[in-house]
Amino acid sequence: MDGVSIPLDHVLLLSALLFICGLLGLMMRRNVIFILISLEVMLNSSAVAFVAAGARWGQADGQVIFMLILAVAAAEVAVGLGLVIQIQRRFKSLDMDDADRLRG
């Protein structure tokens, strides 16, 4: 493959930035929707890293894992949105800090 090749470092940097964004979102946002979005962002950041690594080594494994992550993300969102609805029903709010019944 000719053409412009993006250096792996850049992709990994992008992946890391995305992961940190997701992580910070997870740690800071209270709204359960945003938490789910942050999770998605983190998953996809790792997916980008996998794809880039697969391209770098010329292996199909990266894409395979990407597909797997897609499937996991879909399943997770399905369960997560179900939880969102339940939380909304029970706590009349989407603030996760209200759902602290496991407090010790």
Binding site: L23, L26, M27, M96, D97, A99, L102, R103, G104
Partner: protein, 611 residues
């Protein structure tokens, strides 16, 4: 005939067990026959065995079975009969039978008639085991057995907590001595390899020299047991309180037999004591000091039984004095005569108390000479013997003791002088008792007269108290022969005169009133002294402050189990950890996520070796 020996303790044992099993179901008449009859049978058997023994003249040894055998430690259940045992057995069964007979009437109105005889028979059994034992362990069995029976009988009227206290005091105080004695047994076994008395004495003679430390130590430990049981200083405090029991019990246990067990023990192990002159001296001093102290105390008491109790302590002091100066035969002789006249006095006191609605205070009695003639004559003869007036039984035995004490090189004359002072006091307090109770004006009317079953034992004991001094005891083979005595006539004269002086003094003070002592008594020193003597030289108070209260306080302080503090503090630490850690469990998702991230960072940092 000698083979009948085991039957002697067996009769009272069987009777006691029968009475215990059938408690309350047997008619009183049958109980009386069984209770007194069994001891009577023992007395008869003792007579038969004694005659056979006199014929053969040899000590008789009879093994029933091996008690326990571990390695070289193998005490037997075995009996040993020699002159000393025979004297003791005769006193126990003979005087014991008379007291049982007396009891059948004395206790007739008590609801626990059969329990009384069960205990009393058990006592006779244990006492017989004590004197017949051929080894010190079996002797210890009898020793503790009589202690328990004494406890049960002192606390016989258990409904009154005071009696229970007196009973417990009697048992625990003697137990202190018993424990010393047990240590003595350990020492003797460890060193000599046996507890059988005869082989032990032989081993001691071959292993130890006169004046070695070990025999002194062993003898002092045995002496500890003896002073406990025989109510000598410093373990005498239980005996006056033990008068809480029925009066015949006081006569049998706390005058005639059990309290003389200490004398018997020392006489029985005299070969050990001969190896330990310091221990002998200790025995003599304990005896002398006790006899003086108790005599002073007896002077000021007004409970008839307490006077007799202190007089018992004092007389046993004489026996200890005799043993301590090596006058073995005299000591045992005094033991026997004392058993006669003190049992007589106690039974006489019992008759007085019985006929006077359980009155104990002598100053509420008086003038009973004509009203209770049987009791009067008993008391008169008993007191004469106790005071050692010439030609009574007590005179012969006490005279022997004093003269032999005088002969002891060194401390002899001092001991003799002390003994004389005691004799003077004895004469004073015993006749004070007679004069106050039986002369003067009547203060309480007797509501009955002693019946036949009380009068007969009293009469027989009167006879014994008079003629007991002429008995020849078969002790020549038991004890080393004492040297011939040639005390000067002056010494002998003084010994005879002193009790008479005491009698006269008592007459002048307490009966004719010619000698006024009120001024002396009512002076401040007199009052203090009287109070001090009355309290038994404040020994009870001393022990109460020194031992009883601190121990009770300790028990009370520790009762909450302070060791648990250790375990509770472990629990506390766990609880604190739990509380602390449960704070981290906030239930907030963001907190968990954040802590996870930091955890991961820390782990990665650790793996990379950054930290």
């Amino acid at each position: 005939m000698l083979k009948l020996l085991p039957l002697i303790p067996l009769f009272p044992l069987v009777s006691s067990v029968l009475l215990m099993v059938t408690t309350g179901k047997m008619p009183k008449r049958l109980v009386a026959i069984l209770g007194a009859g069994s001891v009577g049978l023992s007395a008869l058997t003792t007579l038969l065995v004694g005659l056979a023994f006199m014929e053969s003249g040899q000590p008789h040894h009879q093994v029933l079975w091996t008690w326990m055998q571990v390695g070289t430690f193998s005490p037997d259940i075995a009996f040993y009969l020699d002159g000393l045992t025979l004297v003791m057995m005769s006193v126990i069964t003979g005087v014991g039978f008379l007291i049982h007979l007396f009891s059948t009437e004395f206790m007739e109105e008590d609801v626990s008639y059969s329990r009384y005889f069960a205990y009393l028979n058990m006592f006779v059994f244990a006492m017989l085991i004590l004197v017949m034992a051929d080894n010190l362990l079996l002797l210890y069995l009898g020793w503790e057995g009589v202690g328990v029976c004494s406890y049960l009988l002192v606390g016989f009227w258990y409904q009154n907590p005071d009696n229970g206290l007196a009973a417990r005091k009697a048992f625990v105080v003697t137990r202190v001595g018993d424990t010393a004695m047990a240590l003595g047994l350990f020492l003797l076994f460890t060193e000599l390899g046996t507890l059988d008395i005869q082989p032990m004495a032989a081993a001691a003679n071959s292993q130890w020299q006169v004046g070695d430390t070990l025999p002194v130590l062993a003898c002092l430990l045995l002496l500890g047991g003896a002073v406990g049981k025989s109510a000598q200083l410093p373990l005498h405090t239980w005996l006056p309180d033990a008068m809480a029991g029925p009066t015949p019990v006081s006569a049998l246990i706390h005058a005639a037999t059990m309290v003389t067990a200490g004398v018997y023990l020392i006489a029985r192990t005299h070969e050990l004591f001969l190896l330990a002159p310091p221990a002998m001296l200790a025995v003599a001093l304990v005896g002398l000091i006790t006899s003086l102290m108790a005599a002073f105390t007896a002077l000021v008491q007004h409970d008839i039984k307490r006077i007799l109790a202190y007089s018992t302590i004092s007389q046993i002091g004489y026996m200890f004095l005799a043993l301590g100066v090596g006058a073995w035969t005299a000591g045992i002789f005094h033991l026997m005569t004392h058993a006669f006249f003190k049992a007589l006095l106690f039974l006489g006191a019992g008759a007085v108390i019985h006929c006077l609605h359980h009155e104990h205070n002598i100053f509420k009695m008086g003038g009973l000479r004509t009203r209770l003639p049987v009791a009067f004559w008993s008391f008169l003869i008993g007191s004469a013997a106790l005071a050692a007036l010439p030609f009574t039984s007590g005179f012969f035995s006490k005279d022997m003791i004093l003269l032999q004490a005088y002969e002891l090189p060194g401390a002899g004359p001092w001991l003799w002088a002390g003994g004389l002072l005691g004799a003077l006091l004895t004469a004073i307090y015993s006749f004070r008792l007679v004069f106050v109770v039986f002369f003067g004006e009547a203060k309480t009317e007797p509501d009955r007269q002693p019946g036949l079953r009380m009068a007969v034992p009293l009469t027989l004991l009167c006879v014994l108290a008079i003629i007991g001094g002429w008995f020849a005891l078969p002790l020549a083979d038991v004890f080393p022969v004492a040297g011939e005595h040639h005390p000067s006539h002056l010494i002998e004269g003084i010994s005879i005169a002193i009790p008479l002086i005491g009698l006269v003094l008592a007459y002048l003070i307490f009966l004719s009133g010619q000698l006024k002592i009120d001024g002396l008594v009512n002076s401040s020193l007199g009052r203090t002294l009287k109070k001090f003597w009355f309290s038994g030289w404040a020994m009870d108070l001393l022990y109460d402050r020194l031992l009883v209260r601190p121990y009770k306080g300790l028990a009370y302080m520790l009762r909450g189990e302070w060791v648990d503090v250790i375990y509770n503090s472990i629990v506390k630490v766990c609880q604190m950890l739990f509380v602390g850690l449960s704070h981290t469990q906030t239930g907030r998702l963001r907190w968990y996520a954040t802590s996870m991230v930091f955890g991961v960072i820390v782990v990665i940092a650790l793996l990379l070796g950054v930290i």
